[in-house]
Structure formats: structure tokens, C-alpha cells
């Protein structure tokens, strides 16, 4: 049997001298190294985050809770599901997640909803946690800006096993001029609750991704609600005249209103 290594008091980990920079980002910087490799502590920290993100993908959206909270805001809601029969099918069949289940389509067509300028669809996507946490606050922050523009907003449609393009069919059924899809983005290790926003004018089945505008990573640690709402309202205003898609460039960040909001948020954070 070999003798144990003599205790030298020297760690095999090379620590990084720029650890203070970690305050600027949640990225995994200044991790240190053992030789060229990750220290044990970081390997395990990473494994735990991956395990949690895996679990987030498979947690279902609590529709009744969401619909009750919408009720509190005086917002009527409708519930639909996509053609994907299960989570497993949803993950492997995006085509099914983009189309309404026939029963849901029939119920939307029979709902007797008045045509509207803007329709919000809330879809679980790949993180029900993102939707449960951020969809409502974002809608609440956006509504006053849309009312300022004199726009008619339809009932909120809650959709399960939903992909982005599901909103096209929903918008088509309810005769919306524009549809806003709020959907759970794929969970990242450091952001299991990131909300994506997709804006599409003249929604109908078959719209391409180049015909949408996207605002990603809406959450307090990402793009905060007031800024996301400002951006969304800006895109809606611009998109109403020229349509959405790659031709519509987001110019919201150049506006005084945006800068004021940023300043206010920075001030609030102090």
C-alpha cells in the first residue's frame, strides 16, 4: 500500500485573481482550475443546476391559478390546448404543438369574441415556471400603454403544450389584428424562468418566424417588466403601420421614454 501524500497545505486549485468581476454577471466566470480542469465544487454546482432545469421542463402549468389571477385583474380568459397529446409528444412533435386541438379550435370559433387589435396568448412552452411567474405582471404593465394607444385588447388565451406558432391559429380564430405570444423559453442553467414574447401581425396559420418580432428573457433578473412592456408597446405601435418581422427594427431603446425608465429602474435598485 502506498503511503498517503504528505500534507503540504497547498491546494491544487489555481484560483483566479479576478473573482470580484463575478459581481457584474451571473455567468460562471473566475471558476478557478485544477490543471486545466474544473474544480470539484464547480462540477457539482453545475450538475445540480442541470438537474433542476431538467425537472423544470417536465413540470406542468397550473392553469386554474393563472386564470384566477387574471380574473382578479378583470381580465377574462379562455383555455386551449395544442394537438400534442402529452409532454413527451410535445417534445418530439413541434408540428402538433403549433396547431390547436380540434376541440379547442371549435370552442374558440364558438366563443363569440369581438375582433380585437391585440390578443395575448400565454403558452407554457418549455418552462411553465416562467409563465406562472412573469406572464401576468408583463400583461399588467403593458395594458395601460396599449390603452393609451386606444387599442382594443381581446381576452387572454391560456394554452398548454404550446409552441410559438400556436398563437397564429388562435389569433386567426379570434380575428385579432396582432397577436402577442408569451411563452416559457427553454430553461437555462441560470435562468429556469425566462419568458419569451413574440409579436405577429395579421396572424394566420403558416406565418414564418421572419414575420415576427421577439423580445427575449423577460424576468426581473433579465429584462424587467416595465422595459419589456415599453418595448412591446413600441413594437405594436410600429408594427400596426408597417407589419411585424425582420423589416421592423426595434428602435425603442433610442427613445427618451426608454432612457427615463432605465434611469428610474437603476435608481430603484439602489
Amino acid at each position: 500500500m502506498n503511503a498517503p501524500l504528505p500534507y503540504t497545505g497547498i491546494s491544487p486549485i489555481t484560483e483566479d485573481s479576478w473573482q470580484d468581476l463575478a459581481s457584474h454577471t451571473v455567468a460562471r466566470i473566475a471558476l478557478g482550475r485544477v490543471g486545466a480542469s474544473l474544480p470539484t465544487r464547480e462540477t457539482l454546482r453545475f450538475a445540480l443546476a442541470h438537474a433542476q432545469a431538467r425537472d423544470a421542463v417536465h413540470t406542468p402549468l397550473d392553469l386554474s391559478a393563472l386564470s384566477a389571477s387574471l380574473q382578479d385583474l378583470q381580465l377574462p380568459s379562455l383555455q386551449v390546448r395544442s394537438a400534442a397529446p402529452s409532454r413527451a409528444a410535445y417534445l418530439q412533435r413541434p408540428d402538433q404543438g403549433r396547431r390547436l386541438h380540434p376541440d379547442s379550435r371549435a370552442s374558440l370559433l364558438a366563443a363569440g369574441v369581438e375582433p380585437c387589435d391585440v390578443l395575448f396568448v400565454v403558452g407554457d412552452g418549455l418552462s411553465a415556471r416562467a409563465v406562472a411567474s412573469h406572464a401576468l405582471p408583463l400583461i399588467a404593465a403593458t395594458l395601460p400603454l396599449l390603452h393609451e394607444q386606444g387599442l382594443r385588447v381581446g381576452p387572454v388565451v391560456l394554452a398548454t403544450e404550446a409552441r410559438v406558432a400556436l398563437a397564429d391559429e388562435v389569433g386567426e380564430c379570434l380575428q385579432a389584428a396582432m397577436v402577442v405570444m408569451l411563452i416559457g423559453e427553454r430553461p437555462g442553467l441560470s435562468s429556469p424562468d425566462s419568458l419569451g414574447v413574440y409579436l405577429t401581425s395579421a396572424p394566420q396559420v403558416g406565418r414564418m418566424d421572419s414575420q415576427r418580432n421577439c423580445i427575449s428573457n423577460v424576468r426581473p433578473q433579465g429584462l424587467p417588466y416595465p422595459l419589456a412592456a415599453y418595448k412591446l408597446a413600441w413594437l405594436i405601435r410600429a408594427g400596426r403601420s408597417g407589419g411585424t418581422g425582420v423589416a421592423l427594427k426595434d428602435g425603442s431603446a433610442a427613445e427618451q421614454g426608454w432612457l427615463d425608465l432605465q434611469t428610474r429602474l437603476a435608481h430603484d435598485a439602489i
Binding site: 468581476l21 421572419s210 429584462l223
Partner: protein
Amino acid sequence: MSYAITIGPRRYRFDDLKTLLARATPLRSGDQLAGIAASSAEERVAAQMCLADVPLLTFLNELLIPYEQDEISRLIIDSHDAHAFAPIRHLTVGGLRDWLLSDAASSSMLASIAPGLTPEMVSAVSKLMRNQDLVWVASKCRVITRFRNTQGLPGHMGVRLQPNHPTDDARGIAAAMLDGLLYGAGDAVIGINPASDSPETIHTMLAMMDEVRQRYAIPTQSCVLTHVTSTLELIRRGAPVDLVFQSIAGTEKANSGFGINLAVLGEAQQAAQQLGRGTVGDNVMYFETGQGSALSANAHWGVDQQTCEVRAYAVARHFSPLLVNTVVGFIGPEYLYNGKQIIRAGLEDHFCGKLLGLPMGCDICYTNHAEADQDDMDSLLTLLGTAGIHFIIGVPGADDIMLGYQSTSFHDALYLRQLLGLKRAPEFEDWLESMAITRAGKLQAQDHQQALLQLMETV
């Protein structure tokens, strides 16, 4: 034309070339989703046997996507180099595999036939190749590109430093950039995926990276990975644009889903070259691809996802890019279900790109809804290192906090360098030595005197 083969009591018939290619493809969820995969393991091998006997000339005569309806089909046929093709024009697909693996297929020979190969020929032969074949033949291919440094030399591998931040925060990006540089990454490019598509935000990022590069005289290039039309607009506004980025796919219809075509890519290439910012070369384009993008845009024409992917390389090749990488596991489990499928696809994409003469890199990655983990990434990383990958991605701790997926880390690149003795682009390696970040290529511990740490003061 139809193809048929009899195996024991069963006769397998394939209606046309694209059906034959689809049935011959190693199993993956995307082809199953498209309803074009082989329905049994035996049918798959039957198709491979049938495919092995197809003459290469067939691919010039039987187009998978009509010439009249797809500008990429036109590009492939119109730019085919008959002279380069001459040495292999008599071969079948199976014969091409044998030739590629033989000693006759030297590095210089492979480079000289590249313009004579079409994406469909290359895709076809890859379907008959095992992982070790894909590794070996790719390792013989040499593709060298230049902008502010020299990439693709034998025994070298680059790293794209990817310092993304979920809100495009300048200090957050700078901190990740600094981390990467101090870990010896960034010779391929310092490339940010912006969260915003606002031209003002992107302009600010470009200016910040350019200032850092100039202040420390870093022989590398920067890029903000935004839509090509936005980059064109930024060039017009005088922003410091080194490389033009664009995601591309293998059919005209899929590219139109991305809002691009060949003309706009050509316009952007010309605009960037006119800036004359490269010091040792003018490869100004950076493309990303990935199996499944054509199907995802419902623009695949019944062609299997790997063949669509290789057709995208014909687009890339037309614009002499500095860098191309497949983002292999990003698209999700509906296209590549698990670690095994991601690893196979990564090796195929790298091989096919290299054989067509591209500076092929790989974003070795997966998402949290795929059946894959770090062990799978370690396997693909090691395999691609031995295959001579042009460059890989470097993200702090392998966790991209903006795009929400796992790629490879700065540590992963160091592991591969020490395992296989892979060097960085020579100009960049010299710079790291001059900054005392490395000594004889080996990373050094840094104290607070390191001049690069003052980088944060500039943002």
C-alpha cells in the same frame, strides 16, 4: 428514377434519390418527425447498400430540389467544377467512401477535388461512414482562413469567445470577455449573441469590443451575431464591423424564413470587405447552421435533415467564410433526440463541411429538454478534437446565460489542448505570451498586476 434491392425474401423499393438518402440516414428524431426515416433497421441498411451503388454522376442529373424553384440548387449546379470532379467522376458513392479512406486521398488531393463535390454527394457518402471514418477523413482535410490571424493550420484549433449577457449589459459582457481571454480563448472570434436586435445596442457592443481589441492590440476579430440586414445597416452607419454573421439553411425557402437570400449575403460580404479591416486576409463572413432548420421552417422538400444541412454548406462556401459552425444540439430533441444522435450529427456536419472545403467548427451543445448531458459533450469534444475541428465555442463554465443552453467552456478547450497538443492561431498565441497569460503555450496563474484586468475601466 427509382432504386431497389432484394434482401432475403424482401424487396425494398425507393421511389427517388431523396427517398433513398432519407431511408439510408442513421436514425434521428427529425427525420422521423418528417415521416421520411426508414421504418426498420433492415430497411435502413438496405437503403445504404442501394446507395453505395449509385454513381456520383447521378447527383448531377437527378436534383433533390428542382433547379427552377430553388436558388441553392442553381448555385450547386452552376458552380460545379467539372475539372476538379474529373478524378472521381467514375466512382459510386460506396467507391467514394473507399477512396476517401485510402492513402490516395491525401490532404492536397482532398482540397483539389472539393470544388467538384456537391453537397448531395458528400451527404450520401457520409451515410455510409462510421464515426471513425468521419473522424479520419476529416482529419486529413486542411482549410486555412485569415482575417487578423491565421486559422486552421495543422495541429491548431480556435475558440470563439462567447461572452453573452441576458440584457446585453456592457460590464457583464466585458467581465466574461476578460475571463475568456485570461483562459486563453478568443482566437477564432469574440462573438456576442445580442439579446436585443436594436441597432443602437449592437453598435455600442461593436464599439466596446473594438476599443478593447485596439487598446490591447489583440490579433483577433469581433462580431455581434445579429441579422445580416442589421449588420449592413450598421456598416452604413460607420460601426466597426469585422465579420458579418448570418444563420443559413440549405433551401431557398428556409433561408427566406430567415429573411435572407444569396443576393443579400453577397451585398454584405462586399460591404464588409470594402471596410478593409482584416490585416492578414479578407475572409469576412461567419455562418452558423444546424440540422433541422429546414424542417423547422417547413421548407425541406422531403429531403432528410442532414442533406439539407450540407446544402447550407454550399451557400457558405460561396462566400469564403472565416468561420462556419454547426450549432449541433441547440435545436432540440425533436431533431436530435439524445447524446448518441447529437454526437453522430456533430461528426457528420464537421466531416461534410471540411470535405466541401469549409473552415468547419462546431458549437458542441445541448439543451435542457434533450436527453443529453456533459458526458455526451465530453465525448463529442474529444472526437472532434481528434478530427481536426477548426474551432469550438468557449462560454464561461459551459453555461450560456443568454441563450439558455450548454456549450463548451474555456476549461474544455484547455483540456483538449493539453490532451492533443492543439495550438491557438499563431498570432494570438504570440499575443498571449506577450501578455504573460501563457508561457510556452501553457496557461499561467495571474495576479492583480495583469494589465488586461484594467479592461474593466474602459467600459
